[in-house]
Amino acid sequence: MHKPGMLSIWFFIGLLLLAYGILILGSGIYEWNHPPAVVLAELHAGVWWGGLLTVLGLIYTLKFKPRKGN
């Protein structure tokens, strides 16, 4: 679905996931010692889910970033 010069949708998705990952990971780390009042808080889901989003976001951002002559 590429018109000349058009950014890939996966680049936008990568950027958003990266931003979400950083926010959620940061929030999870901040609350490490004061977990929220949710079930299974001891698993620190925010940390590993935020980490996963960050990694996915990075991969997609780098793989689909605009390149010269593209």
């Binding site: 679905m1 929030s27 999870g28």
Partner: protein
């Protein structure tokens, strides 16, 4: 499939609005930042894509340049509205794993059928829309009937969805109803007006990813808490030993053996053969995404990719409902109640949580700051993808099948793009108007949903005969479609006026609403086919040369002989059907 999901939302809007119900969730600053970032992203995409949307082909069919993956994910995302997520999670809590029928037998065979049998004709005919195909195959009357009914019902449904979503946001977050309606609809209007289908599809793929990442965590954490799938089953059986919530077919032998009050004949012949076939193969909301693919192979692969993900959707929709049965309930006692019970309790000042709130309740159970925002963003993304699908399909059908066909036939391409943009705005405004109508009269919602369901099954009968039977004639297409639609309305009205008539319509006095929908679709689909066949036999068929590209036997389907076996759509169709059958056996 949205129709059935929303039918489950028997809200009492006025009551909920007046009572200012308690909030279910509280968002932190991080959560709000995630939601705001989402709105910024979708609007940015709309503004970015405007410069790439110049021709009618760009605006209405995304330039026909979609890869199979993008078209496939968008095809599924247009259907994955937030009410679909909330409604079916609620249905799973209420009926158990039976709700998964709407994701498996009620979707997969139809998607495979679309990919392998029907897509070649939609694609080769170069039609812009499903009503456009009817024009080519059956003539103007069939197109006009289909286009007007589709255009009208699409914006009304969009309004019903909009209101329901705003109500959900008010109930679970305490957000103002007017603000929710205006902000979300203006956002959709902006990005679809700017970038047309290209923008809608781009955002649908983004929304698809967010829906999965936002909702999947509930199921993962729920399975950990319950001790895996076996733990879920054991807990449900412990809570409700007299009922079977975890098998899909064992209780289908009798209307009285399952909580849905349905029989396997209704599921197989009503749901699988007519409702799902009608929705997935002829509803332009979803078909538009597929015919925007870059070539025939991509168009055939797109529904197959959609089907593969559709089979997995129960993991994020049905499983949370089952987890609710396992983890929220206690032996013999349901924690959540039906909408009617909640509305009655509300009259006495008591706020009870309903089946349809199971997904947000499970979200609140496991998700702290950040993750909660992601989950809420998933629900909003679901709503917006569904609404964008509705308005972009409406703009195409109105512009090409109503405006160009009847009002201005020979205008420039630029003019039609401009009309498409205005249609998008008008479509959103009508949706907002419908949302406010529903706010003042809940019964309108029931009627709109019923109206939408009248057209699905007959349209499939008409399109199917048009594609596979050379002898089907133009008048037959029109009269078959008309007879099927009116018979559906007649059966619905009969049961509405005399509820005991359900024994005739659904073949059992023990049948419930869901069964009535299935059997009504079966009868009106059959009536459509019979009328089309009979009228065809008494009318003059089109010469074969006029059917080239439209009908099986008159159309040369491009060979796939040069492709390797694993590159052929038919191979992946086989894989998907094999997995589908395996799922039926595993959860039998």
């Amino acid at each position: 499939m949205l129709v059935q999901a929303i039918t489950e939302f028997c809200w009492a809007p006025a009551l909920f609005l007046e009572a200012a119900p308690q909030r279910l969730l509280h968002l932190s600053g991080v959560d709000l930042a995630i939601v705001v970032l989402y709105f910024v992203a979708v609007l940015s995409i709309g503004f970015y894509l405007k410069k790439y949307t110049k021709t009618g082909e760009d605006f209405f069919l995304a330039g026909r340049e979609m890869t199979a993956w993008v078209a496939g994910l968008s095809f599924l995302a247009a259907n994955l509205g937030s009410l679909e997520l909330l409604g079916w999670a609620g249905s799973a809590y209420q009926y158990g794993i039976l709700a998964a029928h709407w994701y498996w037998i009620g979707a997969i065979p139809a998607m495979v059928f679309l990919a392998i049998v029907m897509i070649p004709f939609y694609y080769i005919s170069r039609t812009h829309s499903v009503p456009g195909y009817l024009k080519l195959r059956f003539g103007e009357p069939a197109r006009a009937l289909s286009a007007v009914s589709f255009g009208f019902m699409t914006v009304l449904m969009s309004g019903v969805n909009m209101f329901s979503m705003a109500l959900i946001l008010q109930v679970i977050l305490g957000w103002n109803l007017d603000v929710s309606i205006r902000v979300s609809s203006i956002t959709v209007a902006l990005y679809v007006t700017l970038g047309g289908l290209l923008s809608a599809i781009f955002n649908e793929v983004l929304q698809f990813v967010l829906i999965w990442l936002g909702a999947m965590l509930i199921s993962i954490l729920g399975l950990i808490e319950a001790g895996g799938w076996n733990g879920v089953v054991a807990r449900i059986h412990n809570n409700f030993p007299a009922q079977d919530f975890t098998h899909m077919w064992r209780t289908m032998g009798s209307f009285t053996d399952n909580p849905m009050g349905i029989h396997w004949v209704g599921i197989v012949f009503g749901l699988a053969c007519f409702i799902s076939m009608g929705y997935w193969t002829t509803d332009f909301l979803v078909v538009q995404r597929v015919i925007a693919a870059k070539d025939l192979r991509a168009a055939k692969l797109a529904p197959l990719i959609g089907a593969a993900f559709k089979m997995a959707v129960p993991f994020i929709v049905i499983l949370p409902g089952l987890l609710g049965l396992a983890l929220l309930d206690t032996p013999g006692h349901h924690f959540l109640v039906g909408e009617d019970v909640a509305a009655e309790a509300l009259k006495h000042g008591q706020v009870l949580h309903t089946y349809n709130q199971v997904l947000p309740i499970m979200l609140a159970r496991y998700c702290g700051p950040g993750l909660l925002g992601l989950g809420i963003t998933a629900l909003i993304a679901g709503f917006m993808s569904g609404m964008a699908g509705n308005v972009s399909a409406f703009a195409t059908v109105w512009t090409y099948d109503i405006y160009r066909a009847t009002i201005r036939k020979n205008a420039t391409d630029e003019h039609y793009v401009s009309v498409g943009r205005w249609c998008t705005i008008i479509g959103v405004l009508v949706s907002i108007g419908t949302a406010y109508l529903v706010r003042h009269s809940a019964s309108i919602m029931d009627y709109v949903q019923a109206l939408f369901s009248f057209f699905i099954a007959p349209l499939f009968g008409t399109v199917l005969l048009g594609m596979l039977w050379k002898r089907a004639t133009g008048p037959a297409g029109f009269w078959g479609l008309t007879a099927g639609t009116f018979s559906s309305i007649g059966l619905w009205a009969w049961v509405k006026l005399d509820p005991t008539a359900i024994r005739y319509v659904a073949l059992s006095p023990h049948a419930k609403d869901m069964a009535e929908n299935m059997f009504r679709a079966l009868w009106c689909g059959l009536i459509c086919i019979v009328v089309t066949v009979v009228v065809s036999l008494f009318t003059e068929p089109k010469p074969e040369k006029e059917l080239v590209g439209l009908v099986y036997g008159c159309t040369e389907i491009p060979s796939e002989g040069h492709l390797l076996w694993w590159q052929k759509p038919i191979f992946w169709a086989g894989v998907i059907l094999a997995v589908f059958v395996a799922l039926q056996i595993i959860f039998w």
